[in-house]
C-alpha cells in the first residue's frame, strides 16, 4: 500500500509546501539579503556590536529576558510543586487562574500593567493612601519586567507541573532519612529531576521575552528593547537594511535558544520517561 500512495501523498503536502515557500522561505531569504544591502553592506550584521544604540538595546533585552526567565522559573517552581503535592479544595480554581492569561496578547498585558502600576493604577492609589507617595513604575524597566513576568508564569508553570508529577517521592524520603537538610533535598534531588522541564520552559520563556513587541509597544517606555528598536528603524529611521539585519539576528537568537533547549532537554526527557 505504501509506494502506491506516493502521488496522493505529494498532492496532500503540496498546498502547505507552496504557501510556506512563497510566504515564508522566500521572504525570509530576501530579508537576509536586504539586511546586507544597505549603505554598510554586510557590516550591518555587525551593527549589533558596533553601533552603541543597537548594542545597548541588545544588552537591555538580553538582561531583561534572562531576569524574567529566572524569576518566572522560580515562581513557577514554588507554586507548581505546591500544586502538584497538595490536594485541597479550590486547587483546580487556583490552577485555572495561573494558566488562564496564557492567550492574552502582549498589548493587553501592557494595558494590565498600566492598570496595576500606571498613573491611575492600583499600586499608585494604594501607596498614596499608605505613605502619601504615588508609586508609578509601569513605564520603566520595572514595568516591562512586570509585564514579561505576567505572560511568562502561565506558560512555564504547566511544563514544570508535568515534570514534577513524575518525581518519585521515595527518593526524597531516602535523602531525608539519610539526614539531608531540606535545602539539600531541594538542591540534590528535586532540582536535578526537574531540570529537563526547567530547561525547556526556560527557553520558551527566554525566546518569547526576546521577541515580545506588544507589551513594550503599549507601555511605550524609553527603554528600547530590540523589537522596538527594529520597529523604529523601520518606521522612523526608514532604515530598511538595519531593521532587516536586526530582525534576522533576533530571529537567530530566539530560534537557537529553542533549538538548544530542545536538544538538551529532549534527550533527558526521553531517558527519564
Amino acid at each position: 500500500m505504501d509506494r502506491r500512495d506516493y502521488p496522493q501523498l505529494i498532492i496532500m503536502i503540496l498546498p502547505a509546501a507552496i504557501v510556506f515557500t512563497a510566504f515564508f522561505l522566500v521572504p525570509m531569504a530576501r530579508l537576509v539579503i536586504v539586511g546586507g544591502s544597505g549603505e554598510e553592506h554586510w557590516a550591518a550584521y555587525a551593527s549589533i556590536i558596533t553601533k552603541p544604540r543597537h548594542l545597548e538595546s541588545m544588552v537591555a533585552t538580553l538582561a531583561l529576558s534572562i531576569g524574567v526567565t529566572v524569576a518566572a522559573l522560580t515562581v513557577a517552581t514554588v507554586s507548581g510543586l505546591f500544586l502538584v503535592r497538595n490536594r485541597f479544595p479550590g486547587r483546580e480554581i487556583l490552577l485555572s487562574m495561573l494558566t488562564f492569561p496564557l492567550a492574552f496578547p502582549g498589548v493587553v498585558i501592557g494595558f494590565l500593567v498600566i492598570m496595576l502600576a500606571g498613573r491611575q493604577g492600583l499600586i499608585g492609589e494604594v501607596s498614596k493612601l499608605l505613605s502619601g507617595d504615588k508609586i508609578v513604575f509601569a513605564y520603566s524597566m520595572a514595568g516591562l519586567f512586570t509585564g514579561y513576568l505576567y505572560f511568562s508564569i502561565p506558560r512555564v508553570i504547566l511544563t514544570i507541573m508535568a515534570a514534577a508529577e513524575k518525581l518519585d517521592p521515595a527518593l526524597e524520603e531516602a535523602a531525608r532519612s539519610l539526614g539531608a537538610s531540606p535545602w539539600r533535598v531541594v538542591r540534590d534531588v528535586i532540582l536535578p529531576a526537574l531540570k529537563p522541564g526547567l530547561i525547556a520552559s526556560g527557553a520558551i520563556c527566554f525566546a518569547t521575552s526576546m521577541g515580545a513587541f506588544g507589551t513594550a509597544f503599549t507601555l511605550a517606555t524609553n527603554i528600547d528593547v530590540l523589537p522596538m528598536t527594529i520597529y523604529t528603524e523601520f518606521t522612523l529611521g526608514v532604515n530598511l537594511a538595519g531593521a532587516a539585519s536586526l530582525s534576522i539576528i533576533l530571529g537567530l537568537v530566539t530560534w537557537a535558544a529553542l533549538f538548544i533547549a530542545r536538544s538538551l532537554s529532549g534527550a533527558t526527557v526521553s531517558a527519564s520517561g
Binding site: 496522493q8 515564508f24 511605550a220
Partner: protein
C-alpha cells in the same frame, strides 16, 4: 508542625501569584463598566463605554472574526493533510520538514512581517487587503494545527486501521476521509481552537501588516490604549475578553479531558505552549 507552616507559606505565595495575574484583569473589567474610574464604583455602573466601543471599533471586531475563520479554513485545508503526510513518513526528511514548519513560531512576528512587506509590499491591492494579514496569521498558526494533529496521529495506530480498510477495498481518499479524519478529530478540534484563539489575539505581525482600512481587534486595542480614555480602553479590552474566554475555557476543558483519558502520555500537546507576545 513545621510541615504545616510550609504548607501555609506556599499557599500564601501561590495566592499572591494568582492575585498578580487576576487582579489587573478584574480592575480592567470594572473600569470598563464604571461611569468614572477615577472616582470609582461610587460613580455608578454603566454600559455606555461598551456602546461607545461598539460605535468606534465594531469594524475591527468583524474583521478579526472574519480573518480568524478564514485562517481556520486555510489551516484545516492545508495543515491537516500535511500533518497526515508527516505522520506517515518516518525518517530524516520528514523531521526536517517538521522543524521548518515550526520556524514561524520560533522567529519573532516582527521579522516575518518585515520579510512579507519587503517581498509583497509592492503589490498594492494585495498589500491593502485583509488577505495580507491573513497570510501572516496562516504562517503563524499553521504549526499549531500541524503539531496538534500530528500528536494525535502518533499515539493512535492509524496505519493498522487503514490497512484494514484497504484490505476491504477502500481507496486512498476513502481511507483518508472515513478512517484517518474521524480518528484525528481530537487533534483537529484542539488545533482549531488554538488557531482561532491565536488569530483573534495576534498583534506582532498584524501591527506591521495592517493598513488604516484593515484594522483588527488587537490593532484597535493598541490604538485605544494610546489615544482613548481609560474607561473606553477597558471596555474594549472587556469585549476582547468576552470573545476569547469561551475559546480558552473550551481549550482547558479539552486538554483536561484528554489528560484524563491518556494518563501517562509523555509529550503534552503543543497547545498553548508557545504564544508569542
Amino acid at each position: 508542625m513545621k510541615h504545616r507552616n510550609l504548607f501555609w507559606l506556599q499557599l500564601a505565595f501561590t495566592l499572591l501569584v494568582c492575585a498578580f495575574l487576576i487582579v489587573p484583569v478584574v480592575l480592567s473589567v470594572l473600569a470598563g463598566v464604571t461611569e468614572n474610574f477615577f472616582i470609582g464604583l461610587r460613580s455608578g455602573l454603566t454600559l455606555r463605554w461598551i456602546g461607545e466601543v461598539w460605535s468606534l471599533y465594531a469594524e475591527t471586531i468583524y474583521l478579526s472574526l472574519l480573518i480568524a475563520v478564514a485562517c481556520l479554513a486555510v489551516t484545516l485545508v492545508i495543515g491537516v493533510p500535511a500533518a497526515y503526510v508527516l505522520a506517515r513518513k518516518e525518517g530524516r526528511i520528514a523531521r526536517v520538514i517538521e522543524e521548518i514548519i515550526v520556524l514561524p513560531v520560533a522567529v519573532p512576528g516582527l521579522a516575518i512581517a518585515l520579510a512579507l512587506i519587503i517581498v509583497y509590499g509592492g503589490f498594492r491591492d494585495f498589500r491593502t487587503s485583509w488577505a495580507f494579514i491573513l497570510v501572516g496569521h496562516v504562517l503563524y498558526t499553521l504549526p499549531f494545527m500541524v503539531r496538534s494533529v500530528l500528536a494525535v496521529l502518533s499515539i493512535i495506530n492509524f496505519r493498522e486501521l487503514e490497512e484494514g480498510a484497504a484490505s476491504l477495498g477502500a481507496t486512498f481518499w476513502q481511507r483518508f476521509f472515513t478512517v484517518v479524519l474521524p480518528n484525528a478529530k481530537p487533534g483537529i478540534l484542539a488545533g482549531s481552537l488554538m488557531v482561532l484563539t491565536l488569530s483573534v489575539g495576534e498583534f506582532n505581525l498584524t501591527w506591521m501588516l495592517h493598513t488604516p482600512m484593515t484594522k483588527t481587534l488587537p490593532v484597535g486595542l493598541a490604538d485605544s490604549y494610546a489615544s482613548m480614555r481609560l474607561e473606553i480602553a477597558s471596555a474594549y479590552t472587556l469585549v476582547f475578553f468576552i470573545m476569547i474566554v469561551p475559546l480558552l475555557v473550551a481549550m482547558q476543558w479539552l486538554s483536561r479531558d484528554r489528560r484524563a483519558r491518556t494518563v501517562a502520555q509523555e509529550q503534552p500537546l503543543p497547545t498553548s505552549r508557545t504564544f508569542s507576545q
